[in-house]
């Protein structure tokens, strides 16, 4: 797994110039490789790890939209 992560990191450095985006990509790579080290790792587990690495951006957007929807409904 360490080898896989190293290779991923190296290739990501070559592919991404933007520092901030590279850090984000590295964060995703670390999260999914950690999930992959689980003996029962599954594609859905990797998916969840990658989505989780996004942080709460989805929840924030969802909450903001939901809050606006609620306000529109007058709740």
């Amino acid at each position: 797994m360490e080898s896989l992560l190293e290779q991923l990191s190296e290739k990501l450095k070559r592919e991404i110039d933007d520092t901030e985006r590279l850090a984000a990509a590295q964060e995703v790579a670390e999260a999914v490789i950690e999930a992959l080290s689980n003996p029962n790792a599954s594609p859905d587990g990797i998916k969840e790890a990658a989505i989780a690495a996004l942080g709460d951006a989805i929840e924030r957007a969802d909450s903001a939209v939901a809050a606006a929807e609620r306000r529109l409904r007058g709740e």
Partner: protein, 771 residues
């Protein structure tokens, strides 16, 4: 093979499957152990005991599930237990360097489900979590396919190249995790795209609704403003401060203490509710309206009764006057009655006289007729029929004629008497007519008197009802004098009465009291009407002010809601959602790059992985194969990119030494060589630790299927010479194959474990001491 693998050194079992209740131990103290025995002797039972100890049940792939036996009830889980044993126990002992592991599973007949098993794992005497995946990196799938593959799995290992191949087989080649990684990342990207689409859809829909809602609320505010102006509010008062002033003013007018400070719309609404309630109470409070109603009822009931009474009295007086006039003009009833009697007597007397005269006339006529009918000589005397004296007949005849003349002549007695009778008859009729007139007038007067009496009682009842009404309802001060007058009138009206009192001075006094009472009531009624009109105007004015406040509060609420949309929804929520969506889009792009990179890396690593395995398979295949041309094997990776998902698949082929002839498992490769290719692949994978687990064990259960004796012996020899795993267990019914394995491995590195034929009485048994 990795140095850190655990090596299984012994299997101790009792009460498991065909193994009886006495504990037996299979020592795996050599790198190669061959279990040999007839069919049904228990070889597979021993190797399956290892899998059962780790997982609590055996994996039969898609061919069999224990749940199919009898649902998931207890009895189904007792199939592993030896009949007659109350519990089953398997103990595995493993070694890694100087460390030892003892894995133990016990199942009791009373609670035979795997979840109730007692499972322990001790490493160097210390307990650790008994999780095969955690401790050894093995799962039921990995075990049944990489460590102890069954016959069907052996075939599938090389022949299944279709898209639905089992992931556990991919894991054997070390590419399963790479596929898991790329598939998982692709799913994450798809999931993210889906979520983003969904969020953007909601965002767009909400933005659209927001525009509509803003327009709606704007219209509502405009409408509320118009209504406020219509309610009399100045445009400058359409503010929170304006509402406070209006509410304060009205609360003073209504003497209402407001419970809350007027700080926001909600408090204004609360204040408005209180004021509206107070105005409603004022409107419904008993006052002029009730008094008006009572006085109207009094006027209608008592005034009406009094009018009817007075009319009855007038009627009575009229009939009494008529009667009196008749009495004066025609005499009293007694006088008239006497006159009638006198007239009757007179008439009777005349009638008697007339009758007597008529009789006489008849007698005389009869006498005259007799005289005329009998011849009489002159001078004959006859007895006068009247005086009975003797008379000359002629004289007598003259006398009779004269008498008849006196009676029947025009001025005779009978005519006179008839005239007299007519007079008497007229007199009697006239007096009787007077009598009837008197009787009729007397009856009319009596009826009128009764009517006046009844109306009087009605009046008394009306007075009593009015007094009861005032007694029952709240009486205004202005009504009290009327009620008192009413009571006096009632008292006067209830005084004892005699016949002929109707219309008397006493009645006039009562009526005078009544007139004054009704006049007083009319006065109060008029003043009440004025008072009510005034109160209605005041109440209406208050209500208008309440409505004005309501309109103002509605306007402020509409304005606040419009502002909230502009501020909270459009300003804060939408902006926050837009920023978050942009962040997710950024992440989506990042994830796309990571997925692409991971795909590339996984391809490279898969190629590297199978590249390491491929020479090993070729080596094993070459050593076992007795084929004239197919002396080697090759494994390579095929990469597919479907829908952005990078997936690697291995391909196994038998090849000639030059690599120019490549044969895929299938019709072009015999069953025996497919078995050789399979065993070669398993041995190579065990050799390079491709399974990714830490259990140094390979079990080849009857690996000589479809092999001819020479090939079988060749395979046995090769397996013995090059044991592929730290511990390799081979089961076979082929004694020659078993001997070849042991011969290839040498006595020091291998041992033969023969099993006796299984019997119901003794179960599975080893031959020889200690086994």
């Amino acid at each position: 093979m990795a140095l850190d693998s655990w090596v299984l050194t012994s299997v101790e079992a009792r009460g498991y499957g065909g193994i009886g209740g006495n504990a037996q131990t299979l020592k795996l103290d050599r790198p190669v152990v061959v279990l040999v025995g007839p069919n049904g002797s228990g070889k597979s039972t021993w190797v399956s005991a290892i899998e059962w100890a780790f997982f609590g049940e055996l994996s039969f792939g898609n061919d069999f599930s224990i749940d199919e036996l009898r649902g998931n009830r207890a009895e189904a889980h007792r199939v592993y237990m030896h009949e007659g044993c109350s519990e089953t126990e398997v103990v595995l002992r493993l070694r890694r360097g100087s460390s030892t592991m003892v894995w133990r599973r016990v199942r009791r007949r009373q609670k035979p489900q795997a979840t109730h098993d007692e499972v322990t794992c001790m490493i160097d005497g210390s307990p650790v979590a008994a999780d095969p995946a955690e401790v050894l990196g093995i799962t039921p799938d990995i075990f049944s396919r990489a460590i102890a593959p069954r016959q069907t799995s052996l075939q599938a290992l090389i022949s299944s190249e279709d898209k639905d191949r089992n992931a556990a087989l991919d894991q054997l080649f070390g590419i399963e995790r790479l596929n898991t990684l790329t598939v998982g990342l692709s799913r994450a990207r798809d999931e993210l795209s889906k979520r983003v689409r969904e969020l953007e859809g909601r965002f767009d829909a909400m933005a659209s609704r927001l525009r509509e809602e803003v327009a709606r609320r704007f219209d509502r505010r405009s409408d509320a403003r118009s209504k406020g102006l219509e309610a009399g509010i100045d445009a400058g008062e359409l503010t929170l401060e304006g509402a406070r002033l209006l509410i304060a003013s009205l609360s003073r007018a209504l003497s209402v203490d407001l419970p809350t400070a007027l700080g926001n719309i909600s408090s204004l609404q609360t204040a408005h509710r209180h004021l509206r309630s107070a105005a409603d109470q004022l409107w419904s409070r008993p006052g002029p309206q009730d008094r008006l109603n009572r006085l109207t009822r009094f006027k209608t009931a008592v005034g009406g009764a009094r009018d009817r009474w007075q009319n009855a009295i007038d009627a009575f007086k009229g009939t009494s006057a008529t009667l009196e006039d008749l009495r004066v003009g025609k005499g009293s009833e007694e006088v008239v009655r006497n006159a009638v009697d006198e007239a009757e007597r007179w008439l009777n007397d005349i009638e008697d006289q007339l009758s007597a005269a008529s009789k006489r006339a008849a007698v005389l006529a009869k006498a005259r007729d007799w005289l005329r009918e009998h011849e009489h000589a002159a001078g004959d005397e006859l007895d006068c029929p009247v005086c009975e004296r003797p008379m000359v007949a002629q004289e007598l005849e003259h006398l009779v004629d004269a008498a008849i003349e006196a009676l029947q002549a025009e001025d005779g007695e009978i005519a006179r008497l008839n005239t007299e009778r007519q007079k008497a008859d007229d007199t009697l009729r006239e007096t009787k007519e007077k009598q009837r007139q008197l009787e009729r007038a007397t009856g009319d007067a009596s009826d009128a008197e009764e009517e006046a009496s009844a109306r009087r009682k009605e009046l008394v009842d009306a007075l009593q009802t009015a007094l009861d009404m005032w007694a029952a309802e709240m009486v205004d001060e202005s009504e009290k004098p009327i009620a008192e007058r009413c009571a006096r009138a009632l008292k006067a009206g209830q005084r004892p009465r005699r016949r002929g009192d109707e219309g008397s001075e006493d009645d006039e006094a009562v009526d005078a009291e009544l007139r004054e009472t009704l006049a007083a009531g009319e006065n109060v009624l008029a003043s009440t009407r004025e008072e009510l009109a005034k109160a209605s105007k005041e109440t209406e004015a208050l209500r208008e002010r309440v409505i004005a406040i309501q309109r103002l509060v509605e306007f402020l609420e509409a304005a606040e809601q419009l502002d909230a949309l502009d501020g909270d929804v459009a300003g804060d929520d939408l902006m926050a959602a837009r920023v978050s969506l942009q962040a997710i889009q950024e992440w989506k792009e990042t994830l796309r790059i990571v997925t692409s990179v991971a795909g590339d890396v996984s391809v490279a690593m898969a190629e590297e992985r199978v590249g390491a395995v491929s020479p090993k398979i070729s080596d094993w295949f070459g050593r076992i194969s007795r084929h004239d041309r197919l002396k080697g094997a090759r494994v390579y990776v095929e990469t597919s990119r479907t829908g952005g998902i990078v997936k690697n698949a291995y391909r196994v082929r038998a090849v000639d030494p030059a690599g120019s002839w490549e044969v895929a498992p299938g019709p072009m490769l015999s069953g025996g060589y497919q078995t050789v290719l399979t065993v070669a692949a398993l041995c190579a994978l065990a050799d390079v630790d491709a399974g990714g687990h830490q259990l140094g064990l390979l079990i080849l259960d009857e690996p000589t299927q479809s092999l001819d004796p020479e090939m079988s012996q060749q395979m046995g020899n090769v397996l013995g010479v090059s044991a592929p795993a730290p511990t390799t267990v081979v089961t076979t019914t082929d004694k020659a194959f078993a001997d070849a394995v042991v011969q290839g491995a040498g006595a020091g590195r291998s041992k033969l474990v023969p099993l006796k034929r299984w019997t119901a009485a003794q179960g599975t048994r080893f031959e020889g001491e200690g086994e």
